[in-house]
């Protein structure tokens, strides 16, 4: 049986619905030693900023039950180094590229997006409006993420939207009362897709020193622990907006990916679980194909949002 695994975000077609979560795949080089990364629906790269960033002071990660906290703080090579040193490799491999960007103002997002478009640095842009690790944990208190303000999400999205033609994805935060509000804002702002979820805020304390285990105090929780939360948000958002949802949060196996697709995700991303099994995305692509065959589905798009709720 011939199964169509192609899915679209805006006018971009992915050869299959499996990508990787930003920040868990670097710029593709390392895991290209493990498998042919062009087999991915897309490679989503680590968040890029205008200038290179050193990130937060370590320790930056803590293991937690069925998950992990990270407080990397957007360490990255910066947009110029990306274009010069990382992009050529990805292009040579023939990857579809989703470039994740992070700015500290609307102007920075616009600059990053324009730069990427001009230099052919991406096939789609993902705006990270939801990184929990770039503010000081104590100030963060009254300094919300852009993704926590539906109003700002719309402003940021439409500014970038009006400056580039590339398909535009907005990445939202689960640290919110109602995720559908910023999702609707992103859609109104002209986004072609919505990525959910970024990490949940969390912390962990060393009971001997009575200090936070993370130097940055607070970090972002990811991994299978958060999967039920992510799935619920994917279901909520995909029933609410018309644009495709890129679902992520604890996806490890084909079955996990199927849950997200059935809940309404058009694309799924493997994140933290890559650290356990770098081959997980490849296994999932094959597993999705197998599922379609044994369920007599000739197009994976027919599975998207196929949940029955009585």
């Amino acid at each position: 049986m011939n199964v169509n695994l192609q899915v679209s975000i805006g006018n971009l077609t992915l050869k299959n619905p499996v990508t990787v979560a930003s920040g868990t795949f670097g710029y593709g080089e390392e895991y290209s030693e493990y498998f042919d990364i062009s087999e991915l629906g897309a490679v989503t790269v680590k968040s890029l900023t205008l200038q290179p960033r050193l990130g937060n002071i370590p320790p930056r990660i803590v293991e937690t039950p069925a998950g992990m906290l990270n407080a990397i703080g957007l360490q990255n090579v910066g947009i110029e180094n990306y274009l010069k040193y990382k992009l050529p490799f990805l292009r040579k491999q023939n990857c579809t590229i989703i470039a994740n960007i992070y700015g500290t103002s609307i102007e920075e997002y616009v600059k990053l997006a324009e730069y990427l478009e001009k230099e052919g640095g991406a096939d789609a842009i993902e705006m990270n409006l939801s990184c929990p690790n770039v503010h000081d944990a104590r100030n963060k208190f009254k300094c919300p993420l852009i993704a926590q303000s539906p109003e700002w999400v719309e402003k940021y999205t439409s500014a970038v939207r009006s400056s580039v033609k590339l398909p535009l994805i907005v990445k939202l935060s689960p640290n919110i009362t109602d995720i559908t509000e910023p999702a609707l804002s992103a859609e109104r702002g002209g986004a072609d897709g919505i990525s959910i979820i970024n990490t949940l805020l969390g912390m962990s304390i060393n009971t001997h020193t009575r200090r936070p285990k993370l130097k940055n105090v607070v970090g972002g929780l990811s991994g299978p622990a958060i999967r039920p939360v992510a799935l619920k948000m994917v279901w909520d958002v995909s029933r609410t907006v018309k644009i495709p949802v890129i679902g992520m949060g604890g996806i490890c196996t084909t079955s996990d990916a199927l849950e997200f697709i059935i809940a309404g995700a058009r694309v799924v991303a493997v994140g933290s679980y890559l650290f356990r099994d770098p081959l997980a995305p490849i296994r999932i692509i094959q597993g999705l194909r197998d599922y379609c065959i044994s369920n007599h589905l000739d197009d994976i798009n027919n599975l998207v949002g196929s949940i029955t709720v009585d």
């Binding site: 030693e33 050193l54 370590p58 069925a66 360490q75 356990r276």
Partner: protein, 265 residues
């Protein structure tokens, strides 16, 4: 080269209270490993623990490698319950390895506690490529924490023992011995162990203008350079300050490139 292996456990023995040696069968790993590199072990099939555990390669055989580890948390506890004949998923070899520059005639190893793990392989290699047996300072809390002593002696190494409680060798710290050693001339020091020990060894080496390579530890998620979780502040390329990944740029660092003043605690 494939870096993911289902390895048969061919030996698994306690070597001291809470310390074990495990031999992992894999020609592929053995054939590609160099002293100082490490492995990421999948402890269990489920999500407990979620992350792999980094372990140095202790020795490299023709058809496998050994690791030497201390039980200090949930992961290593579960690891210690695995039996010979079981399989374990191993990622590696990972990271860089100990440089053995020709210009130095004297090689000195300073190991604190379980920090001894990467050195049996290094001693073998130095013997092979330079034909000399490094001198070794083995330090530990007490006599039960001095591992591999016999192995080192068998390989012909002059070995100094030192324990905090004096239960074996001298009483004191590794650096006490280091200060007393009568070594002159260009010397290269390899060290691994608790961070304060490494820092002090580094300081002494600076004073003596010796080269010092340390194997560093850091919490790791991926072991492959993608998560940026394991970094240490360093000045690696042309004075350029960076966050060096212990799993990629390391785990072996020339201690002069580490920005010690930026490392907490």
């Amino acid at each position: 080269m494939n870096k993911l292996h289902e390895c048969l456990i061919t030996l698994h023995n306690p070597v001291a209270p809470n310390h074990y040696r495990m031999v992992l069968q894999s020609k592929d790993i053995a054939g590609h490993s160099s002293p100082g590199q490490f492995l990421m072990l999948e402890i269990s099939a489920g999500y407990y623990p979620f992350l792999r555990r980094p372990m140095s390669i202790e020795r490299i055989f023709s058809d496998g490698v050994s690791i030497l580890y201390k039980v200090c948390g949930e992961g290593t506890k579960i690891l210690s319950t695995l039996s010979v004949g079981e399989k374990i998923n191993v990622q590696g070899p990972l990271g860089n390895s100990f440089p053995i520059p020709k210009e130095y005639q004297q090689y000195l190893i300073i190991a604190g506690g379980i920090g001894v793990a990467p050195f049996p392989a290094l001693v073998e290699k130095i013997l092979n490529v330079r034909g000399v047996a490094p001198e070794i300072i083995l330090a530990g809390k007490d006599y039960t924490h001095l591992l591999c002593e016999k192995d080192f002696r068998q390989m012909g190494c002059k070995t100094h023992l030192v324990t905090e409680d004096g239960s074996a060798g001298d009483m004191g710290l590794a650096t006490d011995i280091l200060k007393k050693l009568n070594i002159t001339g260009p010397t290269i020091v390899y060290t691994c162990g608790p961070l304060p020990m490494i820092k002090n060894v580094h300081k002494i080496c600076i004073e003596r203008k010796w080269l010092c390579y340390a194997s560093l530890e850091a919490e790791m998620a991926c072991g492959e350079g993608v998560c940026l979780g394991c970094v240490v502040p360093a000045k690696i390329e042309v004075e350029n300050e960076m966050m060096a990944r212990v799993c990629k740029e390391g785990p072996i660092f020339d201690t002069q490139v580490i920005l010690w003043e930026k490392i907490g605690e």
